[in-house]
Amino acid sequence: CSQYQQVLRKDDMGKKYALADSLYKMEKYKKSLKLMEQLVPVYRGKPQGEKLMFIYANTYYNLEDYYLAGYQFERFAQAYPQSDSIEVASFKAAKSFYQLSPRYSLDQKDTDKGLEKLQEFINQYPNSEKRTEANALVAELRGKLEKKQYEVAKQYLRVEDYKAAIDAFDNFITDNPGSSYRKDAFYGRFVAAYKLAINSIPVLVQERLRTAKGYYNNFIKYYKDTDLAPEALELYQDIESRIVPLETEPNT
């Protein structure tokens, strides 16, 4: 360790470089990073710079400082567009942003950025072996955004603001074709419409029951054989028992 301190303090860049490299290989990233911080400004633009900048970025990545890792990998990709490691660097830059994406219930600006970067990577390296992983990450982030929007709609249902719930589920269905929450959204919209109807003032009940029936039909059209179908059917039967056929409805 004392040797490390000596090298850290002295001005011999060659020794520093060698030690930084060996520490990096030994996965002692924190120590290695301290040396690299001194080396990077010196070697920028020099032949050794390419490798150094890459392991520098990767050290941040391994230390889970994804914010700086993403930044450094992007800088690397800009500075050495001809590098052999360019593909890996681009991927890791994108993956860093993926790592920064927070849980679905918080602000998703980092998720949006991750998606953008991953998509850029996929477009730029369509034959990369990392493509499958990149696609999986994209799917995961998309899923997160979908979950966010779905959960908000579900919350409107939970706080019994049925009108807002119907609208929010509606928006979800339009905005997210092919989402894994689509079934639940169709079901949620139906439940919200049903509850709105049965909690309405008498004049509005019939009309709203019919709307709910429409949403049931939409649901059952796509998700007839799913786990939610029996529950939906139960509500539907209740609607049927409450609904008054149009002809027999008394004129008001």
Partner: protein, 834 residues
């Protein structure tokens, strides 16, 4: 030797030399021209002009010229002659009364940093900049001189130049006189008063100095005309105004006016309204035919820019879904002195909210925010709801109230849909209290933690500790205090939306205190003698929609058990025994203060609560009347009487019976109003009243739960549910006897002005006048017999530390038992919010 150059011919450059360079390397200059040996160019030709221009644009040289020094056939030698601009080394700004901040500003705004090239342009712009800078403050005679002196290196070559800017601000120009001409309807004095920025010299008016500035005068011209326009003179105009320089210190203004005729409102017609009737619109407009014409009022009734929540025509539409409605008043006819109006309304379509999103919540979970939104998908657009949502998000205490903003992301007129995005900025909402010190004969340590945005469900989820599970909007406070002879622990938890369905707030708290007898002679605690208090409470508070939806209805049950073990306190006449305090508190409160909870600027907050214990005496068949009579007689015993000891024992036994279960009821009222006086100056008006009574007069009012008036109002170390009422200007609890009182009232006026409301620290200053007193029962009660005080103070709120403050109060009345007025009294306020 002069040779002719053939202008139609290309030459090859043989050699380029640079002359005149001082700081630049010749090679650098050549590289910069882009010319190199062997290039073939026309001489003279476009290429050379381009190069010259390019060099010139660098702003590095004051002279650039190319010379041909030698021509041999096709080959030429070129000489580039340059004169470098001097470089700036250091700037010194001198001048009486030029403040440091101003100097920095001058240097920054003019880019006067080391290495900058000193051009003529730079000198002129800097000079003008400084003159204008002071003109804005009313210094019209500012003189600026800029000198540069060469700075030479050791070889005597000029390396760069130092710059000395000397500023002579001169005297601030004062307005000696303002003369009006052409004014018949308003006196000179009235017109001068309407000018807010430009004032005449006046020794008495010390709060606003006379000065003349272009900007201020521009504003005042507007306000002069406004004065006329709001009194029917819609054609009033300033024909001309002259600024006369009297001497170096004084100027005079001559304003020549034309008042024009006085006009009246004629017919006002509404056109284009289909949603609201003429009657409805007319009522809000509030202007009748025949009234004196007032263009300013008309504009305000249509759209009042000074108040976003004003009751004007625009908001009538904005609050009912018509986002794109436009309202224009048009003069359609002028009949003599009467003007007919048409108020043309384009209602456009109804708008509904479509996507409603939140951004910026890096810590607080969506569900905590979305449940507070009053603008939800499918709802009709309403500006009022947007404003209210912003207000309520601010009150959560998780976001910086000054940075909350609603953004309209997409306004689609075809579908009548609008996407709204709320942008929030998280702020620190946890507080830590860590104290240690000597007091009461030993070390006292306190550790208090309060997390205002806690996530209880993640308490066992280790990965959520960054550094603590946050984001579910729950509030958790833990506090422990210990010294050698007492320990107290408390824990409280608040969940604002119980079950996540309805805004029903559940709060629970638990506390436990052990106090041992402190033996002053042995200077240590006697563990065999103790007094313990264990208590807890559970409360539910629900937002209700009636009478309006600012009301909160609350219920709570609290219980405290006191246990005495050979321990005498002033509270009880017995040293061994127990007492229970079980009570139900019911309250209703209304709070519509806005927007910043630390610095409300409008709205009011009031509450009424009743705390009731069960009426045990009504059904427990104890004859309190007899006990009371017996006790009264026993209390008369002379201490010399041999029966004294036995009698005291009996009194203790009676009191144990009386206080087994405490019996009382307590009613409190509190109201606070916030009024914006001018700009950010806010008046806080507060009134409070409290009453404690007994169901059974023979059982009497217990010595608990009483009011203590005076001092900083901080909840001191209290065992008996006492309420400490703030009344500044007097020592703590100095206005109430030691046993406390059963009635109190208080009235307070406080004026506040914010120094800063930044996220890091909110600071405001205040001045107050208040009065209050406590009384022993209704027979004593006299709301006009108050202890009065006034003073000034300062508050600093920092998210991590809570509120810190200091007040100096002057008590105009004597404290209890005193005869002279109390005088100045300092108060330190810690942690007590708002």
């Amino acid at each position: 030797q002069q040779k002719e150059l053939d202008s139609g011919r290309k030459y090859t450059i043989n050699e380029i030399t640079v002359t005149g360079a001082q700081n630049f390397n010749e090679q650098t200059v050549i590289a910069f021209t882009g010319l190199k040996k062997g290039d073939r160019i026309y001489i003279p030709g476009e290429k050379l002009s381009q190069v010259t221009k390019k060099l010139w644009e660098q702003n590095l040289f004051s002279d650039i010229a190319f010379y041909v020094t030698n021509v041999e056939g096709d080959n030429v030698d070129l000489e580039l002659y340059i004169v470098e601009l001097p470089k700036l080394r250091e700037v010194v700004i001198s001048g009486k009364g030029v403040r440091k901040a101003k100097k920095k500003e001058i240097i920054k705004d003019n880019d006067l940093k080391a290495g900058a090239k000193i051009t003529k342009n730079l000198l002129t712009t800097t000079k003008n900049y400084i003159t204008n800078l002071y003109k804005k403050d009313g210094f019209y005679n500012t003189e600026v001189t800029i000198n540069t002196t060469p700075y030479t290196d050791s070889t005597g070559v000029e390396e760069s130049r130092n710059m000395v800017i000397s500023v002579d601000k001169g005297k601030r120009v004062k307005v000696k006189n303002i003369n009006f001409e052409g004014n018949e309807q308003f006196s000179d004095g009235k017109l001068r008063r309407s000018m807010k920025k430009t004032k005449r010299k006046n020794l008495i008016r010390f709060w606003k100095r006379s000065k003349f500035t272009e900007e201020g005068f521009e504003e005042d011209r507007e306000s002069l005309l406004k004065k006329y326009k709001s009194n029917g003179y819609r054609d009033a105009r300033i024909i001309n105004d002259t600024l006369r320089v009297l001497d170096r210190k004084n100027v005079a203004l001559d304003i020549n006016l034309e008042e024009g005729d006085k006009y009246y409102f004629g017919d006002i017609k509404f056109i284009g309204n289909s949603v609201f009737t003429d009657g409805q619109l007319r009522q809000i407009l509030g202007i009748k035919t025949g009234e004196v014409y007032n263009g300013i009022l008309l504009q305000e009734r249509i759209q009042d820019d000074s108040d976003p929540e004003a009751n004007d025509l625009t908001n009538l539409y904005q609050n009912n879904g018509y986002l794109a409605a436009r309202i224009n008043p048009v003069e359609v006819a002028v009949r003599n002195d009467t003007i007919d109006f048409e108020i043309r309304i384009m209602e456009r379509s109804l708008f509904y909210f479509d996507h409603v999103t939140v951004i910026g919540n890096d810590r607080t979970n969506d569900h905590v925010i979305y449940r507070e939104l009053r603008t939800r998908p499918g709802q009709k657009y309403s500006k009022r709801d947007v404003v209210r949502t912003i207000r309520e998000l601010g009150q959560l205490g998780f976001f910086d109230p000054e940075q909350l903003s609603p953004n309209f992301k997409k306004v689609d007129e075809n579908n009548g849909l609008v996407d709204l995005e709320y942008s929030v900025v998280e702020k620190g909402s946890s507080q830590i209290e860590l104290q240690g010190g000597y007091g009461g004969g030993g070390f006292v340590g306190t550790l208090g933690l309060s997390f205002n945005n806690f996530s209880l469900r993640n308490i066992f989820n280790l990965s959520s500790y960054k550094p603590l599970p946050m984001g579910d909007g729950q509030k958790l406070s833990i506090r422990a205090q210990a010294s050698s002879y007492y320990q107290t622990y408390s824990l409280s938890l608040t969940e604002p939306w119980l079950g996540g369905r309805k805004p029903v707030q559940l709060s629970t708290s638990f506390s436990h205190t052990i106090q041992n007898y402190y033996d002053p002679r042995q200077r240590r605690a006697d563990k065999t003698r103790s007094f313990t208090i264990t208590g807890g409470s559970v409360g539910l508070a629900k937002k209700v929609k009636w009478p309006d939806d600012y009301f909160v209805w609350s219920n709570a049950i609290s219980f405290q058990h006191y246990n005495l073990n050979n321990y005498n306190t002033g509270l009880f006449t017995f040293g061994d025994g127990y007492s229970n305090n079980l009570a139900y508190t019911i309250g209703i409160s209304r709070n519509n203060t806005a927007t910043n909870p630390i610095y409300p600027t409008s709205g009011s907050d009031f509450s009424i609560t009743a705390k009731l214990t069960p009426p045990y005496s009504a059904f427990n068949s104890v004859d309190y009347k007899a006990l009371s009579r017996e006790r009264d007689q026993l209390a008369l015993t002379n201490p010399d009487n041999p029966e004294f000891v036995d009698d005291n024992k009996r009194i203790s036994a009676i009191d144990q019976e009386r206080f087994k279960w405490l019996e009382y009821y307590k009613i409190k009222f509190k109201g606070t109003w916030y009024t914006k006086l001018v700009e950010k100056l806010v008046l806080r008006t507060n009134t409070e009243f409290g009453f404690l009574g007994a169901y059974n007069q023979d059982r009497g009012i217990p010595p608990f739960e009483r009011y203590f008036v005076g001092g900083d109002g901080l909840g001191a170390y209290s065992l008996d549910g006492r309420e400490v009422i703030q009344l500044r200007g007097y020592p703590n609890q100095s206005l109430t006897p030691i046993d406390g009182n059963t009635i109190y009232n208080k009235f307070s006026l406080e004026v506040r002005y914010p120094v800063t409301l930044a996220q890091m620290a909110s600071i405001y200053v205040l001045g107050f006048a208040e009065g209050g007193a406590s009384y022993d029962g209704f027979r004593d009660y006299n709301p006009f017999e108050l202890k009065r005080s006034a003073g000034v103070g300062l508050r600093i709120f920092m998210p991590a530390f809570g509120l810190l403050g200091i007040d100096f109060g002057y008590g105009f009345d004597p404290v209890l038992g005193g005869t002279e007025k109390n005088g100045w009294e300092p108060h330190f306020i810690i942690g007590q919010q708002f």
